[in-house]
Symmetry: C2
Subunit: 255 residues, 2 copies
Amino acid sequence: MTYCLGILNRFGIVMGSDSRTNAGVDYISAYKKMFKFSLPGERAIMICTSGNLSITQGVITQINRDIQNHESENLYTLSSLYDIAYYVGSKSRQIQDRDRTWLEKDNVDFHCNFLLGGQVKGEEPQLYLIYTPGNFIKATQETPFMQIGETKYGKPILDRTITYDTPLEAMAKCALLSIDSTMKSNISVGPPINLVMYEKDSYTIRHTLELRLGDPYLAKMRKLWEDYVQQAFEAMPNIEWKYKDDDSQVDILID
Amino acid sequence: MTYCLGILNRFGIVMGSDSRTNAGVDYISAYKKMFKFSLPGERAIMICTSGNLSITQGVITQINRDIQNHESENLYTLSSLYDIAYYVGSKSRQIQDRDRTWLEKDNVDFHCNFLLGGQVKGEEPQLYLIYTPGNFIKATQETPFMQIGETKYGKPILDRTITYDTPLEAMAKCALLSIDSTMKSNISVGPPINLVMYEKDSYTIRHTLELRLGDPYLAKMRKLWEDYVQQAFEAMPNIEWKYKDDDSQVDILID
């Protein structure tokens, strides 16, 4: 399994990913799922991947090849992030055209999703979610975050905290906590964690982070979080129970 | 969808449930999913249900009928909670025997789960999860909570806080917060919330609660929780980024 998220707001973009890949429960390994591309001063692009690893690695390989071979259409030549989203989806379609019928023969799950975030000079920062069929949606002010993979455990913390006005550093901490919560609740999501913070109009990727298993920052963050949760419980007003001292309480639905 | 949870520890049992039922997104209604039974001084039993509503209502109806008809085997005569778990599973099997082939013809999901918590005099409090096939597992000291329905959103808060030594009132607040987080992240889980707190060796259900939409306690709890989350972020040490000021950073996987 995988957990990746992207958050977009007025200050920029934060993207994060775990690194665990598993084929069943008896084959667990670590693969990077976060890829960064930049033409400093011109554009900065981050891609996170989830789903079938052979397909997503194939897509990233093709993207790199196109850059190196100076193809007319590549991450550094396409004129908008919308076009880049379509381009990434097309690369995914190409690999699927080649492999999907063979994967289906063996009942191998071929689904794959991509988060694409970044900024091309002349545009606002943008964040896209690209689905298996290659179609895609864009984050908007109303829903400033997107997730792929094992999304549910880490969603409540985002729902409660992230707005279009949250400062970038707070967004980054929230992203880390969202990934940490997912790791704690689902062993198929695991370290190293990769995190990127992109400041709007910087057109370069300055802030990156890789947190390995047992990283002291992660441990400190987890401890502090758990202390605050504990304090929150203690501060909560007592529940006003519907108190019954003596009753034979039975819920009878029918007579 | 549904979200119900049960927590068992050295002090007793807390059980909670939402009340939303939906057939598609265009038919949403409220049904109680928490049922309480007690012979004060002798036994206290709580049941929460998830899954196909016609089956779970059928099971609760049969359980009530057996009590009213003074059947030799019913919730008040069976000598242990283990036997009661088997009995509830058997009732579920009976309804499935009657309905399941018909449901399958129309591709209707017939899955249903039950949480069964309580205490029979002479035993310790116990908590069971009964699956669709009628088989069941028991909560233990290592894993003191069980969930049915839409379980993922509300799990991180439990994973981080609940132990075998958590006081009952704190367990109840945590259960509420777990349900509230789920409601916030998934509209198919919704109020009223039902909550029960059972004190070990009391053999009666004294503490119950029903929180309706817009309940002031729920609003206060949510606000306080969000304030603490905010404070936690502010208190967290700044991330030590791997800071790069000038680089053309590209992840090349192949050459």
